[in-house]
Symmetry: C2
Subunit: 470 residues, 2 copies
Amino acid sequence: MTTDLTKLLQAPPTVVTVGADLLDRALTSQGATTVPVDWRPPVDGSADALARVAADPRHAAGNADAVDRILRAEPRWTDVVPAHEAVGLEKGQFLHAGPPLTWERASGPMRGALIGAMLYEGMAETPEQAEELGASGQIELAPCHSAGAVGPMAGVVSPSMPMYRVDNPVFGNHAWCTLNEGLGKVLRYGAYAPEVIERLRWMQDVLGPALKEAVARMEGLDLRAMATQALQMGDELHNRNRAASALFVREVVPPLLETDLDPRQIAEVVRFVNGNEHFFLNLVMPAAKAASDPARDIAVSSVVVAMARNGTDFGIQVSGTGDRWFTGPAEVPDGLFLGDYGPEDANADIGDSTITETTGLGGFAMAAAPAIVRFVGGEVADALDATRSMYEITHAEHPTYQIPILGFRGTPVGIDTALIVRTGTVPYLNTGIAGKVAGTGQVGAGLVSPPMEIFRDAVVALAEQAQPAA
Amino acid sequence: MTTDLTKLLQAPPTVVTVGADLLDRALTSQGATTVPVDWRPPVDGSADALARVAADPRHAAGNADAVDRILRAEPRWTDVVPAHEAVGLEKGQFLHAGPPLTWERASGPMRGALIGAMLYEGMAETPEQAEELGASGQIELAPCHSAGAVGPMAGVVSPSMPMYRVDNPVFGNHAWCTLNEGLGKVLRYGAYAPEVIERLRWMQDVLGPALKEAVARMEGLDLRAMATQALQMGDELHNRNRAASALFVREVVPPLLETDLDPRQIAEVVRFVNGNEHFFLNLVMPAAKAASDPARDIAVSSVVVAMARNGTDFGIQVSGTGDRWFTGPAEVPDGLFLGDYGPEDANADIGDSTITETTGLGGFAMAAAPAIVRFVGGEVADALDATRSMYEITHAEHPTYQIPILGFRGTPVGIDTALIVRTGTVPYLNTGIAGKVAGTGQVGAGLVSPPMEIFRDAVVALAEQAQPAA
């Protein structure tokens, strides 16, 4: 009699090999057929938490819902509003990038940006006065994310600054972001020289009002469509926004010309935007936040809804754990430096701009922007590998954010902190690099890795709310 | 005694295998070491001519000089001038794309464009009158190239049309091209409906003068730098000019705003340019001609200096053979069709726009524009293969026209008609597809191959002037 077992033993063996390829190589060299499975043990101390999270039937459904909400977003730029009105900031209150922070723990560029903002708001006459005020505990600090906003680099927002409003009508939410100042000596990189403050005043008096009038005549600007186009034009929309910024000028000029503004003032606005290939970053960031926010607060979902750095700590927020931040030390980015600057001049990682990676852009879309490897260091193949490796820790491919060179494959979206902990692969992030001394400005651009423990901590926190299947 | 020959016979054989891989496969299957050489016999009837051309010591030096001249070009847009002034056209005289042509041999779209130009110049009241006039022999036709100009598709130029002037100060030459009308029902695709003529009048009265004023305030526009940037933004600058057109708007708006033009008229100009992602094509074409012309008239050089189609014939001009055209039948392009149109609606290949391929753009830069495969048909890998295969028939890699995905390799430049004949590989060309019935307009876009015999004829003509080494 031939049992199933006998048949199995009579046929040539097919062996499933898991993890390190030693066994696989030994078998294939003997002519056996193998099915290799790429597997690594989960991060230390997470195996039990991972098992408990996975066992809760709400986990998979919650993740699917969270990712679906991110993919369905239709962010539109709709208005420009001063921060005191937009996010209710009063004199002496400031927003900053990343997780919560005190003056005492703030890095050089964060203090520099706060000093500049105090000078700009007329709270101090000199940088020294501002520094004293900061140290005195008389200023109030809160994360941008806590106010529905995002800010690049230091991300400092003060009451008088104009902010973009980006609506996501599909879910009725919106997000805010300041306007981009250009590169080099700018507030967001911690510079506060008189030229920096003067530029902020011009942005308040001329740029903000002009763009407010333009967008009022546009019925909004479809930022998802803009980002979709820009990805096919070599941008990854974090460290490279060249195409998107050019497309932005194209969109905004005709309505600007229909306003009653003096053509010479319009020319000034257009020259300012033209001189800054990162101008669109401050629109794609609130677009990403507006897309990501509806994925918050879904029970036991391990989808990451924010990644942000304050120059001292790297923090993430996860759908299933509300507004709680999981933080660890921010690393110094690895990249290329401007002029004579080097790694010793670099501050630790800073800014809310990693909200772009959270929704499938930036480092996750590196394959769309092979030219960027000259800006952050590396080879073209690295750009392709970066995007490919992010499919491992995400749940979906974006329906419109597509990468031509990958055969129009959608970018990886829906970062799962459980997948990160299980695979040991952390998100691939692009970033600018700020000088660590207050007042310096930008010193470079590069790549940075978040600390693994924050993802493990998030999984452990999720495990505490997990329930086994009934 | 061991002779060299004995040693050779004692060592394991290494066999150089040439051409078809039958021998190579037979040897390798027996464990022999082979050095396969990719070789195909030259095109029929060309072997003797190729040998005579190659034997002339001026041939290699002339080719090197021709290619060097193309690479050193620095084309700049400097002015907008009406055709009667720019190229001396008088009433009743018209330029057209491609090699010389008579009304009798002209295709539908070429006749359509000439009918439209006659209506536009007020030479006829109705299309029927214009057609009679065309057939009567009372109009004079000449190729754009013969007047230092280039024109996309039908390429028809009449005295009142504004033309871009593009200077190449390195060699003191310049080239001309009309302004781009947009897509669909437009003169260059053979349409002549009232809206077509009305648009041409607006271009003459508003667009041309506005751009003339803008460029006068710009000290010219560096078209080489623009094309270099656009190649890193997904354009190949023949069938895809999306990035370059957006960059053009960015450059031209500030100086436009410094003119005394009504802001509403400027808005009209910007909206027109914005509505047309091919706007920059009519600047890159004269830039390519301005780059290619200094490579003309070098003795025994087999470098191609122009490829152009008139809708009936495909023609090339080669450096060593002066203004002589080598022509053969233009093929119907293979590609994707708009709306309900299909291959049966397509006219044969038409236009001077293959001047872009002549200088390392268009089909030769396909790898820079993987998104274009959705527009002309094919897979992303085809785009990479297209560029790679063109290195086989060219002599250089462009120093600034670089392709990120190929590790920033320069695009293939300096097409050698001798290499084409020797390898059997013809240039890879992108093109728009015109409807074959006069008045239709564009019906699609795709790829087209030139007839091989024109390259062979050019080599045979070069052989007639070749001299053996002294």
